[in-house]
């Protein structure tokens, strides 16, 4: 399998996704805004079509358009402070409307369909450079803003009192979400991308550990989903997006069952101290 260059490329991108998506996902899940990931992934489709229309790198097109949509979500929060669902509907309509109009116009210079389900065959050198740069820059930004992001998720008011510029950091986080989405679309695909953002975190949360450990477990589960998902899609000749997503759900189920069994074992084990 690894004799093929396209598989080497695919696994390189898979490692980037496994590193970045859970780092973004954990903050999104804990801020109860994981559905933003779904909207952002659909927004990326509009960016891809715009990139293809202008004959530029579609991943960079996706990143720029998704970052603008992320910033727009933050901006609209001021006007619809209790209606995040409504904001997401507005952005979704804008993005899908743009994508469908451009795809149906017949003016795109390449096929946009591979971005719906993901593909392991189409990752080229230009994609790998874009994905690598976005991943490195995002990880550095996350490292620098780690405590600020943690406290905005945990206690936003305490963060403000400590001098954290919450509004500015929320805009930076929107750009980081755009980066996570953009690096994932080629392999995972637009339709199931939110699975890579939320599901590894959901599995890690079941382990009931501290924040850093939960983040590390999320990365581990994400990497496991990608490796099993890509290998499975290679041998079964199916789209990687679907199989990676199913693997993520499978891992979550295994963790839930294991937790339940451990709980029952503890109940049946006699307490030796009494």
């Amino acid at each position: 399998m690894f004799n093929y260059e396209f598989m080497q490329n695919a696994f390189f991108v898979a490692i980037c996704i496994s590193l970045l998506c859970p780092c973004i996902g954990i903050f999104m899940v804990l801020r109860r805004s994981s559905m933003i990931g779904d909207t952002m992934s659909h927004a990326s489709l509009a960016g891809i079509t715009l990139g293809l229309l202008l004959n530029t790198n579609p991943i960079m097109g996706a990143f720029i358009f998704t970052a603008i949509c992320g910033a727009l979500i933050e901006f609209l929060r001021k006007y619809f402070s209790h209606h995040l669902d409504l904001i997401l509907t507005i952005i979704l309509s804008l993005s899908i409307g743009t994508a469908i109009t451009l795809i149906s116009s017949g003016k795109l210079k390449a096929n946009a369909n591979i971005f719906f389900f993901g593909s392991i065959l189409t990752v080229n050198t230009a994609d790998m450079i874009s994905i690598f740069l976005l991943t490195v820059l995002s990880i550095i930004t996350l490292y620098v803003l780690y405590n600020q992001l943690l406290y905005i998720a945990y206690d936003e008011e305490a963060a403000r009192v400590a001098g954290v510029k919450v509004d500015i950091i929320n805009y930076v986080f929107a750009i980081l979400m755009a980066a996570a989405v953009s690096i994932s679309i080629k392999i995972v695909g637009v339709l199931v991308l939110s699975a890579m953002i939320a599901l590894p975190v959901a599995s890690a949360l079941q382990l009931e550990r501290g924040f850093k450990q939960t983040l590390l477990y999320s990365m581990g589960f994400s990497l496991l989903s990608m490796v099993i998902g890509l290998t499975g899609s290679y041998y079964l000749n199916v789209a990687p997006g679907g199989f990676v997503s199913l693997t993520s759900v499978g891992i979550l189920l295994v963790v839930l069952v294991a937790k339940q069994m451990q709980h029952k074992l503890r109940q049946h084990t006699p307490n030796l101290h009494h």
């Binding site: 804990l30 405590n147 600020q148 943690l150 406290y151 998720a153 945990y154 206690d155 008011e157 305490a158 963060a159 403000r160 009192v161 400590a162 001098g163 954290v164 890690a204 949360l205 009931e208 550990r209 501290g210 924040f211 850093k212 450990q213 939960t214």
Partner: protein, 226 residues
């Protein structure tokens, strides 16, 4: 230390106002409890002082920026959040740019919570979680701690030890405390002054004077020890 002068505030920048010409002066070492009916603007006043809201008119001036806040939504509300007590405190220490990592151990010892350092916040009781909120507020030796109904979600026994801790921080370390209180007994027993908010304005009095006001208005004597 803190002066609120001729404060007017409305959420819509026009009448009706929540506050109309409100004045309040807080001196170093005070322990002031803000009391009043539900909806009279107690928490709004705190949010104005903290800078979360902007006055429509008037001014709020402070001698110090070394202020901490313990919100009504205490750390117990985050029971599903995957974070240990040490992570909560250490992360906040870094936000405040305090380099000494022993600061976390110091505030845990002050609040008698060292045993809980490596526990998840969700594993603590309401009273213990509130002590962690107070421990967090002590990082960096603040001049002023602002609390919003600190006894919310805390059982009676833990309330007693929590107020004893606040009183100790005020008298022994000299930290100024400003607290919105719905627990009148605690306000009358622990505070050095009471700020009674009513009809868009307020007045400062001693706990003894406020106890007499209650007696005058309700005819019932307060059960607390002033």
């Amino acid at each position: 230390m803190l002066k609120v002068k001729d404060l007017y505030f409305s959420y819509h920048q026009q009448p009706p106002y929540v506050f109309e010409g409100l004045n309040l002066t807080i001196h170093r070492g005070d322990y002031i409890s803000i009391v009043g009916e539900n909806g009279c603007g107690k928490s709004t006043l705190l949010r104005l002082i903290l800078g979360f809201l902007t006055p429509t008119q008037g001014s709020i001036t402070m001698e110090t920026k070394n202020i901490r806040y313990v919100s009504q939504k205490n750390d117990f509300s985050h029971s599903g959040f995957p974070i240990t007590v040490r992570e909560i405190l250490n992360s906040y220490r870094k936000l405040l740019h305090i380099k000494d990592p022993n600061e976390v151990n110091r505030v845990l010892e002050l609040t008698h919570m060292t045993f809980a350092a490596d526990k998840l916040i969700g594993q603590l009781s309401g009273g213990q979680a509130q002590r962690i909120s107070i421990a967090r507020s002590l990082i960096g030796e603040p001049d002023l701690i602002i609390l919003d109904e600190p006894s919310t979600g805390v059982d009676a026994k833990s309330q007693e030890s929590m107020y004893a801790l606040l009183k100790q921080l005020n008298t022994d370390i000299g930290i100024t405390i400003l607290s919105v209180e719905h627990n009148l007994d605690a306000a009358l027993t622990n505070s050095t002054k009471i700020f009674h908010l009513s009809h868009g304005n307020g007045h400062l009095c001693t706990p003894e004077q406020y106890a007499h006001e209650i007696l005058h208005h309700t005819g019932k004597e307060c059960s607390c020890h002033v």
